[in-house]
């Protein structure tokens, strides 16, 4: 069989840490080859080695059977390897064309000849059905189009092998469908694709073969049609994974959080939450399902007091907390696991102990008459460390030094230990490994069983389906529907998330049936 890319026994070391340990990956011509692994398993490192951003300590790379030394992205480009980065590598205040020609600018007497370049970009865009405006500025175009610009960058340089790094992370379902179409089109035009992902369904949908890596080590390569999601999950994690989270039935009581006709603007002054209504009751977990960017961040920030409310009303335990300062809302009985633990959740350069006291440092016993009592803080920190299994060298260690999972445990410990009536958990498991995810899900359910109201925001459908007692679907700043997990499925949620109302959804189903009949 002919391989276009062979990465043989690659080892990449950072200090004492082996990010890649003897990994082999072989890409056939014309296939979509998935690279599967948990967060931090070493997928990105491996691809950065292929793309010339890192140099491996051991192993060799062959392109079309010939051994090569990929010493820089330039070399990768010359070898026909292109990368579509997860965090788009686009300069926001430059145009599409300028971004694409950057580094290999066509010149006319020393001046950048962007006219010819724009023409070529337009041609490529047409050939692959990418629908990109060559003259648009990056900051003015949608996320989906930005991704297509990323693809064009590689195509413009004549790439035959395209690496897609977690390409669906920030896309809407329609955009994901479009992307899958584009990938298949690329294959028919003779390209080969490596798809980096940790989403099993995606792999089942588009890939031909899968290479699995775990904790930096290559586990093996399987043919997609001969495997199933359960087997892939086991390979990825290294043990049997239960997809269903164990939990009993919920016993919801009175409303704790109630949101009425809420309107919130984003930083540009655009309405992102548009007349939203929602309630969360004692003893239930309400999951908020939706695609990133539909107003979730603005909603949480408004509830927690981090963002101004334009109009509408938010109550916690019947107390009106609309527009109050964060501290007042916290004191009204709210705990908040923020979506970005590095940005909002922790002061990374503070010790574990200081972080444990971050919400209560101004109260007794942690301070009195403006003077801190650090002994009380130490005590509290040790309590959280023990109770929530935070793996640390001690409360003096900087929060920065903790792993992501342990940082999250520290935050959850801090919030839960205050015994709030309402717990808001925003993307609580993002970027964590399976063990930590399970731990966190258990803790959320435990809070529910203690009679707390839990509001879970997630972009992962699996998580929402498994943990929630009710699912509210947000689209374009409004709750389009509320469903019960056992009475719905991913397809239905997907449609709701894309903004189809219940009626439309039924029509859609009928239309699909009709299409099939034709």
């Amino acid at each position: 069989m002919e391989y276009v890319i062979e990465m043989l026994n690659i080892t990449k070391q950072f200090g004492n840490f082996r990010a890649n340990d003897n990994i082999t990956l072989q890409l056939k011509k014309g296939e979509i080859h998935a690279l599967l692994g948990e967060n931090g398993a070493g997928k990105s490192t491996l691809m950065n080695v292929l793309f010339g951003l890192y140099q491996p300590e051991e192993g060799e790379i062959r392109v079309n059977g010939k051994k090569v030394n990929v010493t820089s992205p330039n070399v990768a480009n010359d070898l026909g390897i292109g990368m579509v980065h997860q965090h788009f590598m686009l300069v926001e205040n430059l145009t599409v064309t300028e971004n694409i020609i950057l580094g290999s600018e066509p010149k006319k007497m020393g001046v950048v000849n962007s006219k010819d370049a724009a023409k070529k970009v337009a041609e490529l865009s047409k050939l692959y059905g990418l629908n990109v405006d060559p003259y648009a500025k990056i900051e003015d175009i949608s996320v989906g189009m930005q991704q297509r610009v990323e693809i064009l960058k590689s195509l413009y340089r004549g790439a035959n092998i395209l690496i897609f790094d977690e390409p669906t992370a920030s896309l809407t379902p329609q955009e994901i469908q479009e992307l899958i179409g584009i990938m298949k089109k690329l294959i028919t035009e003779g390209k080969s694709i490596i798809l980096i992902t940790h989403k099993l369904q995606e792999i089942m949908d588009v890939s031909d073969r899968v290479t699995v890596i775990r904790k930096g080590q290559g586990i093996g390569t399987v043919v997609t049609s001969e495997t199933n999601p359960e087997e892939l999950a086991t390979l990825m994690v290294g043990r049997q994974v239960t997809f269903k989270t164990e939990k009993g039935p919920s016993h919801p009581q009175e409303e704790v959080l109630k949101i009425e006709n809420l309107v919130v603007l984003d930083y540009r002054g655009i309405e992102k939450v548009r007349g939203l209504n929602l309630s969360v009751r004692k003893g239930e977990i309400v999951g908020l399902a939706g695609i990133d960017g539909n107003g979730q961040s603005e909603l949480i920030e408004a509830i927690t007091g981090l963002r101004k409310v334009k109009s509408g009303k938010i109550t916690i335990n019947s107390k009106d907390v609309t527009g109050l300062k964060p501290r007042k809302i916290t004191e009204a009985g709210m705990g908040h696991i923020p979506q970005d633990r590095h940005k909002h959740g922790l002061v990374l350069d503070f010790s574990v102990g200081y972080n444990a006291a971050l919400q209560e440092y101004y109260q007794l016993p942690y301070s009195k008459n403006g003077i801190m009592n650090y002994d009380a803080i130490t005590e509290k920190a040790n309590q959280i460390i023990e109770e929530f299994d935070v793996r640390t060298q001690g409360e003096h260690e900087l929060a920065r030094a903790l792993s992501g999972g342990n940082q999250q445990k520290l935050i959850i410990g801090r919030e839960v230990s205050r015994d709030p009536d309402l717990l808001i958990a925003a993307l609580p498991t993002r970027g964590l490994d399976v063990g930590a995810i399970e731990f966190i899900h258990k803790r959320l359910i435990e809070q529910r069983d203690k009679g707390k109201a839990v509001f879970l925001i997630s972009f992962e459908l699996d998580e929402v389906m498994n943990v929630s007692d009710r699912i509210a679907v947000i689209h374009d700043g409004q709750i389009v529907d509320t469903v019960i997990p056992s009475e719905t499925n991913e397809q239905e949620l997907g449609l709701l998330m894309a903004g189809h109302s219940k009626e439309e959804k039924e029509q859609h189903a009928m239309k699909e049936g009709a299409d099939r009949d034709v």
Binding site: P326, H344, L346, Y361, G370, M372
Partner: protein, 348 residues
């Protein structure tokens, strides 16, 4: 080597490198570096008079260093210490010379005036940063020049067109016959105690108080601090105000202690900029600042002996100080070097 040792070694190596390169410059310029450094040493410790003057020189350096360090600890870069120091100097001299009050009121009042003036000069960049997210570095640089021109204009105004203010009343003076006699009639004054007390004040605010906890938290991570219910804007402004107050007191050292008046300033005193070096060298801790200020204050004063004793221009010390700052700024690479060295040792 532990991190702690490395943290101490980095500034130590910077100082040694600075002195070595300074020696190379002297050698290259045809001077005798050994004679130069001996002259420097004698300029600092040669006799009790020199020691007195050296300590006198250290006082404003401590306060300038505290000002920079305090802002740094709370996430702000105050390059405006120079300007804050100048307005503090002027305010102290103005209050010290215009009013007639008993000493126990007049001296604290004059010191307070200096602190308030410096604080006000820090308030402007503080408010701009808090309310409009304007970067404090550029604003404080601009405020330095505004201070320079405004203070000179004020000197002219209050002195009725002269280039120099009146002398302060003895009741506002930090001068001390006791300290002066002790050090062979040097100009050593009580300012050093003010400076040391302020170092304790800084330590207390940052390490013991709730305000300090908030200031540090905001300095490290504004978003998380807001999340935790702190008033981020208030803390940013407060930080610049406290920093400015330290700097203003630094000016009072010159106004109420060393000179007793203020003359038209052709350029900056340099103390504010040296304060950056002091703070960096002292790793922004109060104790470190005292150490850094002692070093730079000594170098600055001791340099005066170099032209006479070794016939070397005293600017060589400014070169050495600038180099030390440069090497401290490059601390990352020194750190990497030390860690490599460490590893090699372990391997053996």
């Amino acid at each position: 080597m532990s991190n702690r040792v490395i943290n101490i070694l980095v500034p130590a190596i910077s100082i040694i490198l600075g002195l070595l390169v300074g020696a190379a410059v002297m050698l290259f310029s045809g001077y005798d570096p050994v004679a130069g450094y001996i002259a420097l040493w004698n300029g600092i410790f040669g006799d009790s008079y020199a020691i007195g003057e050296t300590i006198r020189q250290i006082s404003p350096y401590i306060l300038a260093g505290l000002a920079v360090a305090f802002a740094f600890r709370t996430g702000l870069f105050n390059i405006g210490v120079e300007g804050q120091l100048m307005v503090g100097w002027f305010a102290a001299v103005y209050v010290g010379s215009t009013f007639e009050l008993p000493m126990y009121i007049h001296l604290p009042f004059s010191l307070l005036a200096a602190a308030v003036a410096g604080a006000l000069w820090g308030l402007v960049p503080g408010i701009l940063k808090a309310a409009l997210r304007v970067h404090e570095v550029i604003v404080t640089i601009m405020m330095n020049y505004i201070a320079l021109h405004v203070v000179n204009a004020l000197i002219k105004t209050v002195s009725g067109g002269s280039y120099k203010t009146d002398r302060i009343q003895p009741t506002a003076s930090l001068r001390s016959d006791f300290l002066s006699n002790l050090t062979d009639y040097s100009t050593l004054h009580y300012g050093i105690f003010v400076a040391l007390i302020m170092a304790v004040v800084m330590w207390f605010i940052l390490e013991k108080t709730k305000t300090g906890f908030e200031l540090k938290s905001v300095g490290f991570n504004e978003n998380a601090s807001q999340y935790a219910g702190m008033n981020v804007n208030k803390n940013i402004i407060l930080s610049m105000v406290i920093s400015g107050a330290f700097a203003g007191l630094g000016g009072a050292m010159e106004g109420l202690g060393t000179f007793g008046s203020m003359t038209n300033q052709a350029g900056f005193t340099g103390i504010g900029f040296d304060g950056i070096a002091v703070a960096l060298l002292g790793a922004n801790s109060p104790l470190g600042v005292i150490f850094g200020a002692s070093l730079f204050g000594s170098l600055k004063y001791g340099a005066n002996n170099m032209p006479n004793a070794a016939n070397i221009p005293l600017e060589i010390v400014s070169i050495v100080i600038a180099l030390i700052i440069f090497f401290v700024a490059c601390g990352y690479i020194i750190r990497v070097g030390l860690q490599r060295l460490n590893k090699k040792k372990e391997a053996k």
